[in-house]
């Protein structure tokens, strides 16, 4: 009887089955990105020091760092940054609060859905910055139109991500809750809210970028202080080191917001 554990003896040569399952499993290295970034900055600096790049058009990283330092010690950095942070903060909060409320209404109510989706579909594609002149006419030339522009931009993306998230909550969980006579409000709080949270937090990532984009645009159009106004002013004066300092500050701000949302996801979506 053939022993199944052993290969049958034969004179024919054997060959291994070729492994074909490699790839399509991208794994990210923890430090790879930072090393690549540091390398790019080092090459940039070396190119500047070697005179390969005109510092007027592309100042080296050391010049940008110096510009940021000078901005910081002069107090101008905080003056511009605080103006932008205030506009982003208030605008984002208002837009998010309204977006979450409207998104939930659309997700839960037939009437709100039929009305809300029509309006959102019609208004969402409009570049919100195009409304700034109109908002200035309505609200004056102070902070209000800039904040309203940001709030509008954040509102639509938030509302869409919230009602998409509510729609994506597995129906079987809602039926389960109904089968136990769980009241509507408890189903919303204990089933729909946590079920929609991944989509809502993903929406926050998008709206943080939208808010950053809009604050810079709005400040370039009509503001004395703010990172957008600072970048525009530096560009007009050909102070490219200052201009890039502003860009770096925006990038760091975007990274910081991304980290905060990542931290929130880790805390709130640990069950995934």
């Amino acid at each position: 009887m053939l022993d199944r554990a052993e290969a049958p003896s034969t004179d024919q040569a054997t060959r291994r089955v070729r492994f074909r399952g490699a790839g399509f499993v991208p794994a990210s290295s923890r430090f790879g990105g930072w090393i690549a970034l540091a390398l790019a900055v080092a090459i940039w600096q070396a190119a500047g020091s070697a005179g390969l790049a005109n510092p007027l058009f592309l100042p080296p990283p050391s010049a940008i760092a110096r510009a940021i330092y000078q901005l910081a010690i002069s107090g101008a950095l905080w003056q511009h940054l605080s103006a932008s942070l205030l506009r982003i903060g208030v605008g984002w909060l208002l837009g998010t609060a309204a977006g979450v409320a409207v998104g939930f209404a659309i997700g839960l109510s037939r009437l709100a859905r039929s009305v809300g989706i029509t309006f959102i579909s019609a208004l969402f594609p409009i570049p919100k910055i195009a409304l700034l002149p109109l908002l200035i006419l309505w609200l004056g030339i102070g902070e209000e139109p800039k904040i309203a522009t940001i709030a509008l931009g954040v509102f639509f993306s938030t509302a869409i991500s919230v009602y998409s998230g509510v729609d994506a909550v597995p129906r079987n969980l809602i039926r389960m809750a109904q089968s136990f006579n769980v009241p509507f409000a408890t189903i919303v709080r204990k089933v729909i809210w946590p079920g929609a949270l991944p989509a809502i937090l993903a929406g926050f990532r998008i709206t943080a970028s939208v808010a950053l984009l809009l604050v810079v645009s709005a400040e370039m159009i009509g503001a004395q202080y703010g990172i957008g106004a600072f970048v525009l002013q530096a560009g007009n004066l050909m102070q490219t080191d200052q201009l890039l300092a502003g860009v770096v500050i925006l990038s760091v701000f975007g990274l910081a917001v991304g980290k905060v949302i990542g931290w929130l996801e880790t805390r709130l979506l640990h069950w995934r």
Binding site: M176, S179, F180, T186, W271
Partner: protein, 257 residues
Amino acid sequence: MDLIASHISHRFGDLAVLDDVSFTVSAGEVVAIVGPSGCGKSTLLSILGGLLQPTSGAPELRGDPPADSFNPLTFVFQDFALLPWASVEENVEFPLLHTALSPTRRRALVDDALRRTGLTEFRTTYPKQLSGGMRQRVGISRALAVKPAILLMDEPLSALDSQTRELLMEDFVRLLADGSMGAVYVTHNLEEASRLADRIVVLSRRPGRIREVVSVPMTRAERGETAAREKLLAIQSQIWSLIRNEAIDAEREVQHA
């Protein structure tokens, strides 16, 4: 408390799914519903549990539910329907949260349900950390926590492997042993039906009508004995002969859909 299916018919648009289905589940009785694929078994269960409005007829209750029952008609779902963001004990506690029970009393009910399903040591784990069988145990534990009069079980074992199915079947036999709970057990598995049910309602192909009601004339405890095996096989064979041709037709219909 008895559960009565009274002349239930249902249509999804032009598609007739159930046609004049009537039967009674007496207190403590286990009734299995079997039939070819698409005959409306799960639809019937949803109607019986009040999750779907029938086109005509109605599910009715006769008699009072047990005084300590928080949800007399309680589902056990095929896909478990566990909240993935909640731990085992939070899932079991979920249907009690809106009741007027004190936290201490809620905790006692959860503890009891977890103990009866062997989940006490898994109370802080999350569904994604559990096997399919353990997840269904959480679903059963959640159902037990509300002290149901009748369990409405929608193919509760169909998503599980055969060994886990066997283990959970033993759990069901044990839980239903004292006759304090009845059950409507929807399944396509004739062995499960004959092992658990006092009566088996055989539905025809869509629109589902009652073709026959088959009694299983022995206690559930007896069915585990070797001597009972032949009788159970005969019952399964009888039911299979009733639905075989329609099951073939139903399968072809599904494939061509």
